[in-house]
């Protein structure tokens, strides 16, 4: 395995159901994503984008195949780690279509929640959170509730939350879907910058062609397998 590899998937298979009701979603998918890379995952609706993302994120168990996260093999026909939730907590950051901030926590608490669950001290977690908020230029909102922020501000908090546990991988599920053009571009630029500066691999599921030019590669699910495209391929969506 390449030392710069962040995600490696080999012969990954995911089926749902059995016998007559068998649905083959992913068949023998193999790919590798390097650290610092931003990859767009595209496919028609129902083609298995979210399923693939959730398998990489150790949320949905594949039917068979192998998955490496960084240097660690986490799946080989079964989960190799006893606690997949711990892998997510320590290695992966998630960004969703909506911000999905915890509504009863303020901005700072939303960002420090995961690091504190990782046994980082409250003080240290808050220091890191304030740095992230400064980075995203919303440090003045640290003690606000998410209901007091705009959509764009909330999405920036959600990204800061995904970065708070120093993840090696960020999995984003249509992070710009709820944003207008300018804000969508701003978010993908931000992700691109983070990937470069923090050497984080980012996979973002998207239907939004506005953000494709800012990605390094485009990964498309075609005939249940993975095909890579250049970002300047026309009519890719």
């Amino acid at each position: 395995m390449n030392k710069q590899s962040a995600i490696k998937v080999q012969n990954l298979v995911k089926h749902f159901g059995k016998d007559d009701n068998l649905v083959r979603v992913i068949e023998n998918a193999s790919f590798e994503i390097q650290k610092g890379e931003v990859v767009a995952l595209i496919a028609p609706s129902g083609a298995g984008k979210t399923t693939l993302l959730m398998m990489i994120g150790c949320v949905i168990e594949p039917t068979s195949g192998e998955i490496w996260l960084g240097k660690n093999k986490v799946y080989h026909d079964k989960w190799l780690a006893k606690d997949t939730r711990r892998i997510r907590r320590e290695k992966i950051g998630f960004i969703f279509q909506a911000h999905y901030l915890v509504p009863f926590l303020n901005v700072l608490e939303n960002i420090t929640l995961l690091p504190q669950a990782n046994k980082v001290s409250e003080k240290e977690a808050q220091k890191k959170a304030m740095e992230l908020l400064k980075y995203f230029e919303i440090d003045d909102k640290a003690y606000n509730m998410s209901s007091q922020l705009s959509g764009g501000q909330n999405q920036r908090v959600a990204i800061a939350r995904a970065l708070a546990n120093n993840p090696e991988i960020i999995l984003a599920d249509e992070p710009t879907a709820a944003l207008d053009g300018e804000r969508a571009v701003s978010v993908i630029k931000m992700l691109k910058k983070i990937a470069a500066e923090q050497n984080v691999a980012i996979i973002t599921v998207t239907h939004d062609e506005r953000i494709l030019p800012y990605c390094d590669r485009i990964m498309k699910i075609e005939n249940r397998g993975i095909v890579f495209h250049d970002v300047d391929d026309e009519g890719i969506l």
Binding site: T50, V59, R88, E109
Partner: protein, 381 residues
């Protein structure tokens, strides 16, 4: 670590407090129900404690005047007085009477006693106005809850009785206000028939000899004598049932109040179960409202223990707040009940323990929901 339960409650404080108040009112009713039972226990023993007799001599094969009809000859008191170990003995009557008022009559429990005798059932500490009975006839001491005032006249049977004294908080085991009249008046009220009835009986050859009867002879024992032995002697030689103060207390509390206690106990248990179910439903609803957030927390990798801790803490806090509101509620309403309600701190602590256990049980429904929450549900939708 961030206290998720405290943050969530703070976020929906108004809703939480109103919910706790609602459950608190139920718990308040539980406390009042227990208080009613305690009140019955206290009321049952007021008369016994005020009379302070060591033994009660009643009609053979009966449980005595508080449980069933009992008639003994008044002069039995003299025979009892002669028994070795007896210090004082007096005859007494106990009967329910209606005290007529302008608006409606008051049901009371009348104690008849020999005003020249050695045992006075009126506790001087309870006599708040007026005096004890001084004359053999037509005087009455009433308790304040009857509403009669000093000097007022009450018609009982053929005669008018003047209120000469007022006691406070004296009630019978049934919760009826106590009144005190002389033994002679009581015998007349209980045993003397109307003139026409006497004439009728005489025509039938029946001679009325009831008016020298009483319902019980009560006695105190000299120090150094064994109550049980003295009671056994009387039982053997006088063909009467004899109860010690403890036995009489048991008749009143266990025999007479037992059914009511079971009734109250059942109501209390049902209320506790209903409260538990309501807390469980509230927690279930609160958890359902947070399912998306819980799925996201699980997806991000937060351990179940952290989320379960939040649910259990919220349930416990709901129970504790409800308990506090319940206590406040019960203390606000307990004196509005017609019968005595005694709120005791140990009962409140027991209820607190029950509430904590009920809250932990109730939290299981929320915890089950948390465990079953699918982290994949956080994506999409």
């Amino acid at each position: 670590m961030i206290n998720l339960a405290a943050r969530d409650i703070k976020h929906t404080l108004g809703k939480f407090l109103v919910t706790a108040m609602g459950v608190g009112m139920l718990l308040g009713l539980v406390l009042v129900m227990i208080g009613v039972y305690r009140g019955m226990m206290v009321e049952a023993e007021i008369l016994l404690n005020d009379i302070s007799a060591d033994i009660w001599i009643v009609q053979e094969d009966t449980l005595g005047p508080f449980a069933e009809s009992s008639r003994v000859h008044e002069d039995l008191k003299n025979i009892i007085r002669a028994v070795q170990g007896i210090e004082k003995s007096e005859a007494m009557t106990f009967q329910n009477i209606q005290l007529p008022r302008k608006d409606k009559s008051v049901l009371a429990f009348a104690v008849g006693y020999d005003i020249h005798g050695a045992i006075n059932p009126i506790n001087p500490k309870r006599l708040v106005k007026g005096r004890n009975l001084k004359n053999d006839h037509y005087e009455i001491v009433v308790t304040d809850s009857t509403g009669f005032k000093l000097g007022e006249e009450i018609k009982l049977g053929r005669n008018y009785y003047k209120v000469v004294g007022i006691t406070s908080k004296t009630v019978s085991s049934g919760g009826d206000p106590l009144v005190y009249i002389s033994l002679k008046d009581a015998q007349e009220l209980q045993f003397l028939y109307s003139n026409k009835e006497i004439q009728n009986d005489e025509a039938r050859g029946i001679k009325n000899s009831e008016s020298y009867r009483a319902n019980a002879i009560i006695a105190t024992i000299k120090s150094g004598f064994d109550i049980e032995k003295v009671a056994a002697d009387i039982r053997k030689w006088q063909h009467k049932n004899v109860y010690t103060a403890k036995e009489q207390s048991d008749i009143l509390t266990k025999n007479l109040i037992e059914k009511s206690a079971q009734q109250i106990g059942l109501f209390t248990a049902i209320l506790v179960v209903v409260s538990t179910i309501i807390i469980a439903l509230i927690i279930y609803t609160m958890t359902l409202e947070k399912m998306k957030v819980i799925s996201i927390m699980k997806l991000m990798g937060l351990p179940n223990s952290l989320i379960i801790e939040m649910i259990v803490k919220e349930t416990l806090l709901l129970g504790i707040f409800a308990f506090i509101f319940g206590n406040i509620f019960s203390h606000l309403i307990y004196d509005k009940f017609p019968k005595l309600v005694v709120l005791q701190i140990p009962d409140a602590w027991i209820l607190f323990g029950v509430v904590i256990i009920a809250s932990i049980l109730a939290s299981f429904v929320g915890v089950k929901k948390v465990i079953s929450a699918d982290p994949a549900a956080a994506i999409g939708g």
